[in-house]
Structures are given as structure tokens and as C-alpha cells.
């Protein structure tokens, strides 16, 4: 068969472009694929509803609480990962991270939810110990860990910490 290779390559290019196009379309419309991303970022009915999407500062320089550096709080970006999406809220005092919570966690299916619930406390204690987003991923939850670290980093960026 003549030019068999060209037909293969043309097909491969079409398939590649097709998936990229579908992926792009899916990313552009937040309410597209499946159980994920049913709402916009931060608009989720999440527990501990501090997720306002922006920076919420409790504790002003004008009204210091406790005498030391003021506590400031920010919610990081909603980070989609392979099995769901999450966002992390960080409270800092100076350069010390004093509290971490997860206002938004949505997963595709129960198994991923279970994994995430297992590892979130571990990730939280790592962050509280390291005082940064530079944490070790938890074995068996690589994607969740990476998303957690990324959301924390974006929160710290909003607070201009480091």
C-alpha cells in the first residue's frame, strides 16, 4: 500500500488535535465534564465557608490581635487535579503558617474522596511544620498532594509571604 505512512500520520495529527480541542473546550466551560466543576471556583457549597475567592483579611494592622504580627488569611486558587479539585485556605502570622483548612474539595468518585480525606490531615501537618508549600507528597496521593501544595502557594502569593 502506497503512502500508508502518510495516512497514519494524518490520522495521528487529527486525533491529537481533536483531543486537545476537546480538552480546551472542556476547560473553557467550567460546567462541562462530569461530576467535577459543577460550579465556578469558590462558589461551591463547601464546609468552613471562608472561601470568598479573594483575600479576606481578618485582623488589620490597625487592630493588632495578641500583640505579635497580625493573623492574615487567604484562600488559594481552586486547583484541579486528576481526580478532583481542591482549594486551601492558609492563615499566617508573619511568616509562620498557623492554620490550614480546605474549604473546597470535590472528587470524581468516592474512592478519590476517601484517599483525599486520608491524606489531607497529613498534608496539613506537613505544611504547619514546614511553614511553606515545599512539602513531601503523600505516597499514593501524588496528584492530591501536588494540587494541595499549588493551592497553598497561590494563597501565600496573595499574602505576599516569601
Amino acid at each position: 500500500m502506497k503512502r500508508a505512512g502518510w495516512y497514519l500520520i494524518a490520522g495521528a495529527a487529527a486525533g491529537f488535535a481533536g483531543v486537545l480541542g476537546l480538552h480546551g473546550a472542556g476547560a473553557a466551560t467550567p460546567s462541562s465534564p462530569g461530576p467535577l466543576a459543577s460550579g465556578g471556583a469558590g462558589a461551591a457549597p463547601a464546609p468552613a465557608a471562608t472561601a470568598t475567592g479573594g483575600t479576606s483579611r481578618s485582623g488589620d494592622p490597625a487592630a493588632p490581635s495578641g500583640g505579635a504580627a497580625p493573623a492574615r488569611r487567604a484562600t488559594g486558587a481552586v486547583v484541579p487535579y486528576g481526580y478532583g479539585e481542591l482549594s486551601v485556605t492558609v492563615t499566617v502570622r508573619g511568616t509562620q503558617i498557623t492554620a490550614v483548612s480546605v474549604p473546597l474539595l470535590r472528587t470524581a468518585e468516592p474512592y478519590s474522596q476517601q484517599i483525599a480525606e486520608q491524606v489531607l490531615p497529613m498534608l496539613r501537618s506537613e505544611v504547619l511544620a514546614a511553614h511553606s508549600a515545599q512539602i513531601h507528597a503523600v505516597s499514593g496521593a501524588t496528584y492530591t498532594s501536588a494540587a494541595y501544595a499549588q493551592s497553598i502557594q497561590s494563597a501565600l502569593d496573595k499574602l505576599h509571604v516569601k
Binding site: A12, F16, H23, T142
Partner: protein, 462 residues
Amino acid sequence: MGFDSVVAAGSRPGRRRRPALPQPHGPRPALARAGLVLAGAGFGAVTALAITDETAAEFRAAGGAATFIGSLTGLVGTYLALLMVLLVSRIPAIERVLGQDGLLRWHRRLAPWPISLLAAHALFITVGYAQAARAGLGHQVAVLLTRYPDVLTATVGLGIMCVIGVVSIAAVRRRLRRETWWLIHLYMYLALAISFAHVLALGPSFVGHPLTQVVWSVAWAATAGLVLCYRFGLPVVRSLRHRLVVTEVRPEGPGVVSVICSGRELDKLAVAGGQFFFWRFLTRGMWWQAHPYTMSALPQPPYVRLTVKAVGDHSAAVAKLRPGTWVAVEGPYGVFTKYVQQRPQALLVAAGIGVTALRSLLEDMPRGAAPVVLLRGTRPEDLVLRKEVAELVRYRRGRLHELTGTREEAALDERSLTRLVPDLHRGDLYVCGPEGFVTSVVDLAARLGVPAEAVHHEAYAL
């Protein structure tokens, strides 16, 4: 009842053919092109999936690169495995383009890729996860096997694939009996089936993406359906329809026998001269294996004939078949037919038992074909079926050359071939025989200026 009358009928002028016969036909290039584009599209799609399921941040994180490679090799490897299964699923449209030996050649050439890619997938995913978790490899392996759903079965599947890969290495395979190797090889279906679940449960391109889940599942279900249909369903239906039974086993020459089977509705079997079937003789020792043997004459309802040379356990057992044995068939397969002929002139060359395909191909050629036929054998008695061939050649106003002697005495080289067939480069060349013979004649034809698309061959692997 003998086949002499049958042969005579085959060469009788004006043999009647009913118009409603299902006609065999040649390759359909448009279908082949569509298949190629589709195969390429799948490849492009899985590559794109692997790229889109990893965000830049995940890639930069610890273990991200290894995880990405692991996911890419996994997707591409699984996709290639799907293509390998399709290649040998006997889909008629593919078979008519590549022929059985072409299919197997591509299958053999490509099959190492999915196995090594999937092994790499397991390795890189483990390394990537271990790096991300700053854990040891051993610990990570234990975590993967015990805490991740369906990974244990997938690992067993990969183990089976690796065993199959090892026994298929030429050096190892030569030490095994063909039947042993074939049985081991069948476990690939099991390996693929038990590895399927972990892709949907864990693959980041699939979890939470119903579209990819559905497309992936449908592709595999369709492949399984095609395999079941063409490797299992169709042969069963055909065998039940024609109900072939061994009628006579007759010696044709040293170590060569013809088996004549009778059956029903053979006029409805669309078979071209030069094609072959997988034959399954339903005796106690042979029922579980099907072997490819060429029909050495077009069916003459209610009879078909195959001619077999005893070279292995199975072909030796064929000579001892008793009349009344039930026969199941799978086929017909092969592109060694008149439908692939490009130009009006044809040279037909056969060595040894390759004469069987040549014999039925010749019978299928029209009266004015005037083919040049060259039979090659070590001893004159090795030229089995030569009388039948001579009669068919004479009826088609062709020429017959017989070349006997050792390879040195009666060499088939540039000089002897151009002397016998001076206008070789103007016609098509059909070659049939042992693998080494076919390769040497095909090379010779290329040197003598016969274009590749005008060379048709069928090699007998022992």
C-alpha cells in the same frame, strides 16, 4: 468418488458457475486508508490525553516527570496492544489488504512495543510516585499493590505479558513446540482483560471524565466483539454450515498427502484459488489446534481438497486421518489470488509444497491467461501435483518449466530466470514456497526490475 473426476471437472471448458455465488474479491483500498487514518487518530488521541492530563505544576513537582512518562507509556502501550489484537482478529477487510502472513509479520514486528511500553509504564509510575512521596521503591511497590484498586490484577497481567514476550523471542521460541507457544500466547487475552479495570479506576484521563471512559470502553468492547465474531463465531457458523468430513486421504509424493473432504453447500463458500483455511480435525489428539493448509484445488461441491506435507507433528498426523473424521474450518484467508494481479502477464513460481497454492490459483485464472509456471523441487518425485498443473497450464495456453536438482545444480538465479522468462519484468510474479525460497525469489525479482506491487507471495513457515 475420487478427486480425479473432480480435477477433470475443474479443467473442463465451460464449467458452469451459478450467478448467485458469493464472489471473493480483492482488497478495498478506500477501506484500508480509512483504517490507517483511524489507527493513526487513536494514536494521536492517546498521546494528547497523556499530555493534557498532567498540568505544568504536577510535571514540575517531585516525581512529576517520571509520572508523566509512566502515564504516556501506559496509554500508548495499551493502545498498541489494542491494535495488535485487531491485527490478528481476522477482520476480512484488513486480511484482504495485508494477507495472513502480512498480518502476522506486522504483528510480530510491532508486538515488542506494547509489552516494553507497558513494562516501562509500571516502572516509571512506581518511580514517580516514590519520588513524590520520598519513599523507597520497595515501599512504593507495596503501597501500589495493596492500596490502589485493581493494580494487583494489572500487575499479574503485566507479568503474563512479559512471559509471553520472553517466549516469543526467536531464540526461546525455537526451543518450544509451536503448539506450546501458541497456548501460552493465548493468555494475552486474559492479561489484557484483567489489566483493563485499573485504567478506568486510576488513569487521570479517565477518572471523572465520562467521555473518555465511554470511548475507551467502547473501543475495547468493539475489539473483543470483533475477535469473538471473526476468530470464533464465523468459523463455528461456517463449520456447522458446511459440515466437512474427511472422505479420503491419498499419498501424492514423498511425505505429501491430499485430504479430500466432503461437505454441504460448498458452492456458497466464497473462496479464491490460492487461499487457505485453518483446519481443525476433530480427533482426540488434534481437535484443540487449527493449522493453516492450502486448498490445492477449487472446491468441487461436494468436495474440497487440501494437500499437506509432513513437516511437524500435526502435518504428520494428517496422513493418518481416518475417513469420517469431522473437520472444522476457519477462513478462507490469503491474498495470493488472481484479484491482486496488476498486469495481464503472470509468472507463477512454486517450490516444494508451495505448488498447492499455485495449483488452485492457476485453476482460478481465466482461459486466455497464458501464465508461465515454474516448479522447483529437489527430486522429480518432489514435484507433487505436476500432472494436474501441466494440464491446467496447457488448457490456459501457458508454459510449464520444471526445475529439479539441488540448489547448486538447478539454481534459480538471474541468469536462469531471464533465460526461462525473458519478459519477466513486464508481468506479475507469484511466488509460493518455504520462507527462504520466497525471500530469494522476491529479491531476485526486485533486481530484475519487477515493481514491488506486482510481486505476490505466500511463504510457508514450518
